[in-house]
């Protein structure tokens, strides 16, 4: 093992040398300088700042550094995140010392930030050159090669050319050709020094010289804050505000590379450390840029986007439930790597649960005390081309009314979550003949209900002018079906409770397992069909003021919840493992069923518009969530500007339409090309063509849509054309990812299926496609994320409206007509707003567009797109982990 490895694990101690510490110090100085230059480039701090102003800023920077380094140090000390690398410890210590020193300098003198940065570079240059000299004269033990190499030589030659051109140009002027000569001389000189001299000199002296020149230029204010260079020939120029940060960035990078090399004693190890430092810095910069974009748009847009946001405590609580389930699942899984101490690991595991729990408690507090939580702030709107500041707030109110969409979303999420965890209860428990009969009859009953509902849906609530049909026949069918569903749903509870011994709950539950299956699936499907029948027949039966379907759903949900609680409590007394497992299954199924019945309750309220109340709680069509930005259209001449609902609805329909067009085609083609077609020239050609299509500029698709589709779809910019164009763009991606996913299915799967005598199509249907589905879904989600933000083609085919006042109503837009095409939909053939074109409209509107509204739209668009990406990437990670386990 070389010294480098040995040093890696020793701690900073008496034996670490001045040489090492000085170079660690330089590396941290370059980091500080780099950060300061970036901050001044984006004008967080002015280059002209000096004295107390600069001091305060530096103090803040010191605090941030101390916080960051301190937390890591504390964790390291507590052995949670052990930092063993001496280099890292040295740099961290250096960071602290550097920021403290710079703060001191800023307060003590009246030097400007620009000059300070210049001196920083000079100091770095001196230390780097000193380190090179120390190595050359054998003061420290290093392992340099004979030369720094041609790569570094070439790089320094190029840098020398630039520096020489600058120096020469400012000395003799760009008018004469002399500056070219100076540039050439400096460039060649640096190249020669780098290549000819031994590595320790070759990689420190040229770097030191360049950095020193850059630093001296800034420190002497030859290029200072007020400096300007505005050449006649070009239409722009440079100012000190840009050049100084760029000089500092370049100088910092150079001296960091050089110092890092010297720190590891040159040679192969030194080169590696130097390059890795630059590569890591680059990666960090990329992440910083990304985070900066997202944070910047959020900061600019979030205020406007949430103006007047209001939510009832009950709704907020309901919305946290699915997250609670997820957080609980995370907490129940062991996580973390081995280096983490047990305590920290457990803390991280339970953190999400406790956060969600704290939130729920907060909402409960609002309900109990009746004091709503509110955060007041202001936002800017544009009135007659003048900005105007309005007061607004985000609040959680006391309201216990929950909207049906929220109920639906939350309960379906929970249903999906529990149902995924549920395995099967097939062939468990006693065979009850009655249950078997009910089971066989159920599909017929549900089918009949759906058919009746469909008939009412097509023919209207009062078909053939007979008023009695909807009002009477459907009424009674609904009542009977709802009561039947309720009876089914309560059967498991009855089965568990019947019979004396309370200690044998678990065993009894297992023996009546068929009741669970029939109660959950049968009850749910019957009641769901009933709810549909209700809404199509436009009848909402209620007995003694209680809406029957809602009541049935509520009782069923409560029944299943009670069963789940009973079984969860009674599970402790179960002795056999197999019984205990089965009881677990039943609990999961009961929870899923409870969530499902709540979802049916939501369907009922949404379908009939009749609210349902239990005590102070209520489920209504209009919930207590009010989010003007996302739930209102633009309000002309209103006190408040309203929101961008039409754009959101438009984007939703665009995505739905494009997906509906592209996914079946792309998936079908992928199946054919991979499973049926012979692999050869044709499939290769299709692959190359789809890849080419995928990278074709989106505006070209827009051109095609505008010139070909629009004249054939009514002659105006239309939603349908937008859907198709985005579908064309999505198609190649779906095809590519589906093909990759299908190809990745191992051939063993196909062979095993074929060996069982299964024909090709059945193999594809039940083996290949299910195995490829995760990849396909991930690809589709990522592709949808991309087309959701696509703007260029939409400008051509969808138009862009600034203040749209009406959202498209696609579902309600269908009409039957007597002449072909027999079905028309005016909403589909009309222009619509969409999120990306909304942002573009603000730009195109110039001074009459409201910047704050644009930021808010951009923020919402960014959030929509990023959530698609987040879901897609998470899904891929999960699927991949699963595959790895298999």
């Amino acid at each position: 093992m070389s010294d480098a490895y040995a040093r890696d694990t020793t701690l900073v101690g008496a034996d670490s040398r001045l040489y090492d510490r000085a170079l660690d110090g330089v590396i941290s100085l370059t980091v500080v300088g780099f950060a300061l230059a970036l901050l001044s480039l984006v004008q967080v701090v002015g280059l002209a700042a000096s004295g107390p102003v600069l001091g305060e800023f530096m103090l803040a920077l010191t605090a941030v550094t101390a916080g960051g380094v301190g937390v890591v140090a504390a964790f390291s000390w507590a052995n949670v995140v052990p930092i063993t690398s001496e280099r890292l410890r040295g740099v961290a210590g250096g960071l602290l010392v550097a920021t403290v020193l710079l703060t001191g300098v800023a307060y003590a003198s009246d030097v400007t930030l620009a000059a300070l940065l210049g001196w920083l570079l000079v100091v770095e240059a001196v230390v780097v050159v000193a380190a090179g000299a120390a190595s050359r004269f054998g003061v420290v033990e290093t392992t340099p090669d004979a030369s720094a190499g041609l790569l570094a030589g070439g790089a320094f030659g190029a840098i020398g050319l630039g520096v020489g051109a600058g120096v020469g140009g400012s000395l003799v002027g760009f008018g004469s050709a002399a500056w070219v000569a100076v540039a050439l001389v400096v460039g060649v000189a640096l190249l020669v020094v780098t290549v000819v001299a031994r590595e320790d000199v070759g990689s420190t002296v040229p770097a030191g010289l360049v950095v020193a020149v850059l630093g001296a230029t800034i420190a002497s204010a030859a290029i200072g804050v007020g400096w300007e260079w505005n050449p006649e020939v070009v239409s722009g120029g440079f100012t000190g505000g840009v050049v100084v940060p760029i000089f500092v960035l370049t100088g910092s990078l150079l001296s960091a590379w050089s110092a890092a090399k010297a720190r590891e004693g040159f040679g192969a190890q030194g080169r590696q450390y130097g390059t890795f430092l630059v590569i890591n810095l680059n990666a960090l910069l990329m992440l910083v840029v990304m985070a900066a974009i997202v944070v910047f748009v959020t900061l600019k847009g979030v205020g406007y986007a949430f103006h007047g946001f209001e939510v009832g405590a009950a709704s907020a609580f309901l919305a946290t439930l699915p997250f609670l389930a997820l957080a609980a699942q995370r907490a129940s899984q062991p996580a973390g790597t081995e280096e983490w101490r047990g305590g920290a690991r457990q803390l991280l595991r339970v953190l999400p649960v406790s956060a969600v729990g704290a939130l729920s408690a907060l909402f409960a507090y609002v309900v109990v005390t009746g004091r709503s939580l509110a955060y007041d702030f202001t936002y800017t709107v544009q009135v007659n081309r003048q900005p105007e500041v309005l007061d607004t707030s985000v609040s959680v109110t006391r309201s216990l009314v929950v909207g049906s969409p929220l109920v639906l979303v939350a309960s379906v999420a929970l249903l999906a979550y529990f149902f995924r965890r549920y395995g099967s209860l097939e062939n468990v428990g006693d065979d009850l003949p009655l249950v078997g009969q009910v089971r066989r009859a159920l599909p017929l009953v549900v089918g009949a209900l759906v058919m009746i509902a469909g008939a009412f849906g097509i023919l209207g609530a009062n078909p053939f002018g007979v008023t009695a049909l909807g009002g009477t026949v459907a009424y009674w069918i609904v009542v009977v079906a709802a009561v039947g569903a309720m009876a089914l749903a309560l059967a498991p509870l009855a089965g568990v409770l019947a019979g004396g011994d309370p200690r044998a709950v678990g065993e009894r539950a297992v023996s009546v397992a068929p009741l669970f299956v029939v109660g959950a699936f049968g009850g749910l499907s019957v009641l769901l069909a009933t709810a549909f029948l209700e809404s199509t027949a436009r009848t909402a039966p209620n007995v003694a003021g209680v809406p029957v379907v809602a009541f049935a759903a509520f009782v069923a949900a409560a029944g299943f919840l009670a069963v789940a609680v009973l079984l969860a409590l009674g599970r402790g007394n179960v002795e056999e493992t197999i019984t205990s497992r089965l009881v677990d299954e039943e609990v999961t199924l009961s929870l899923a069923a409870a969530a499902g019945f709540v979802a049916v309750l939501g369907v009922h309220v949404a379908g009939t518009g009749v609210p349902f109340r239990v005590g102070p709680f209520a489920v209504a069509t209009q919930g207590s969530l009010s989010w003007p930005m996302a739930m209102q259209a633009y309000i002309p001449l209103g006190a408040e500007p309203g929101g961008i609902l039409p754009a959101i609805v438009g984007t939703v329909w665009l995505v739905v339409g494009a997906t509906a067009f592209a996914v079946p085609l792309g998936l079908g083609a992928a199946v054919f090309l991979t499973e049926y077609a012979e692999q050869g020239n044709f499939t290769n050609l299709v692959e190359i063509a789809t890849n080419a299509l995928w990278s074709t500029p989106s505006i070209v698709f827009g051109l095609f849509g505008a010139a070909f589709l629009i004249p054939r779809l009514g002659g105006d910019e239309s939603l349908l054309a937008g859907m198709l164009v985005l579908g064309f763009m999505l198609l190649p991606l779906v095809l590519i990812t589906s093909r990759e996913a299908i190809k990745a299915v191992p051939d063993e799967y196909r062979d095993a299926s074929a060996a069982l005598g299964v024909d090709q199509w059945t193999t594809i249907r039940s083996v290949v496609v299910p195995a490829a589905m995760p990849g396909v879904i991930t690809g589709v989600i990522l592709g949808v994320g991309r087309i959701a933000g696509e703007t260029a083609p939409l400008i051509l085919v969808l138009g862009s409206t600034l203040n749209s006042t009406e959202a498209v109503d696609v579902i309600g837009g269908f009409r039957f007509v007597a002449q072909p095409p027999f079905v028309v939909n005016d909403a589909l053939t009309a222009a619509s707003a969409s999120l990306p074109t909304q942002v573009w409209a603000v730009i195109a509107a110039g001074v009459s567009g409201s910047p704050s509204m644009g930021w808010a739209s951009a923020f919402i668009l960014l959030m929509v797109v990023l959530s698609f990406y987040a879901v897609g990437i998470t899904a891929r990670t999960i699927f991949r982990r699963k595959l790895d386990y298999e």
């Binding site: 790569l151 049926y676 990278s695 505006i699 933000g789 027999f822 668009l861």
Partner: protein, 373 residues
């Protein structure tokens, strides 16, 4: 001969061992679909009812002969995908044709400024020159300024995306630990997902002021647009180059490490040379993205159609091929639209060509590496 053809067609349609009677149902569904396409081209209004008939026929044959129907449906999907691609291409070219016929090489008119033909490599020997080079009223349409603007913006973006992309790819594939890679790789993907209009809006709102104070310019320029577009092309370069670097066989790197080389020496002398063509494929693909980028450019830069003076003036501004289409299409006359189609075809050909080239390079590299592994 004809019976041979029939049986071929039958095998393609139904597969090897089709059950009897499948031909009738599946065939009728297929015929109805063909009819739908035909009807759409002739009388669009009747297309929907025909398509519904196709749907009914499919449902019937799905119930009776599921395997054959499924095969037909996937075949239909393939054919429609291929047809869509072909059709878009053909239509673009056909639409661009009238303008080419009308203006000919006039589309590549070299501007004359102050009596001097603008020096433009050797092009002024081939193409005509004139005082007016973009004036829809007088029928002068030169695409040279927009092409040049595209070239300038793309070149600047290459200087951003190239080195940063290579370093980023090296970081992800070679330097980063597994845990860090799990974070950085998706982050790069997300960076690719930020919609271009968001970049455009940031540029429109923020950069303009910054440019006026810091670059003494009256608005965003090629330089700024190039930097932004380079940032947008960066993720593409990173992911394709990273893909190439990761496909270098483990054994090659292990051999180098076993000889006592450091990680960086291995990267420099083994991974990068072996993956060089893949990395350049990534850069090509990234530049294709940069050329096709529309909204950021259209939102940031003023969309004039003048030629920058002097040519290397990166502080000038002008429409690129993409932003020319985006900003002019809405208000364009018939003949201008034809010219915009020529711009579209140029874009299409260049970018599709770059994509095909990069795929070719990538395939060759993978084959070569497979041979060595």
């Amino acid at each position: 001969m004809s019976s041979n053809f029939m049986s071929n067609a039958r095998t393609t349609l139904l597969g090897q061992d089709a059950s009897e009677g499948a031909l009738l149902t599946v065939g009728s569904a297929a015929l109805l679909l063909v009819a739908t396409v035909g009807v759409f081209l002739v009388a669009p209004a009747l297309a929907l009812p025909t398509f519904v008939l196709f749907g009914l026929a499919t449902v019937v044959s799905w119930v009776r002969h599921q395997a054959e129907t499924a095969r037909l449906l996937t075949l239909v999907a393939t054919v429609s995908t291929v047809l869509t691609v072909t059709f878009i291409t053909v239509y673009l070219f056909a639409s661009a044709f009238p303008a080419v016929g009308e203006h000919g090489v006039g589309l590549f008119l070299i501007p004359v400024v102050d009596g001097n033909v603008r020096w433009f490599f050797w092009l002024d020997a081939v193409f005509p020159s004139g005082e007016t080079y973009w004036n829809p009223l007088s029928g002068a349409y030169s695409l040279i300024p927009t092409i040049w603007a595209t070239v300038v913006v793309t070149t600047i973006s290459a200087f951003v995306a190239g080195p940063l992309g290579l370093f980023g790819a090296l970081f992800i594939s070679e330097v980063a630990s597994d845990g860090v890679r799990e974070v950085v790789k998706p982050a790069v993907e997300v960076l690719a997902g930020i919609p271009s209009i968001v970049y455009g809006f940031i540029g429109f709102q923020v950069l303009n002021g910054f440019i006026q104070t810091s670059f003494l310019d009256d608005g965003a320029s090629f330089l700024i647009a190039g930097l932004v577009v380079g940032l947008m092309a960066l993720p593409t370069v990173v992911s394709v180059a990273e893909d190439a670097l990761s496909s270098v066989p483990r054994s090659m790197k292990d051999g180098s490490v076993a000889m006592g080389a450091t990680q960086w020496q291995t990267m420099k002398s083994i991974s990068i040379p072996a993956a060089f063509s893949g990395i350049s494929a990534g850069l090509i693909l990234g530049l294709g993205r940069a050329i096709g980028e529309t909204m950021a450019v259209a939102a940031i830069m003023a969309a004039g159609v003048g030629l920058s003076n002097p040519l290397f003036d990166v502080f000038d501004a002008g429409a690129t091929l993409t932003s020319l289409i985006a900003t002019n299409y809405g208000s364009a006359s018939e003949s201008t639209i034809d010219v915009l189609f020529v711009a579209g075809v140029i874009l299409f050909v260049i970018v599709a060509g770059m994509s095909v080239l990069s795929q070719f390079i990538e395939r060759r590299m993978k084959e070569k590496l497979r041979g060595q592994a």
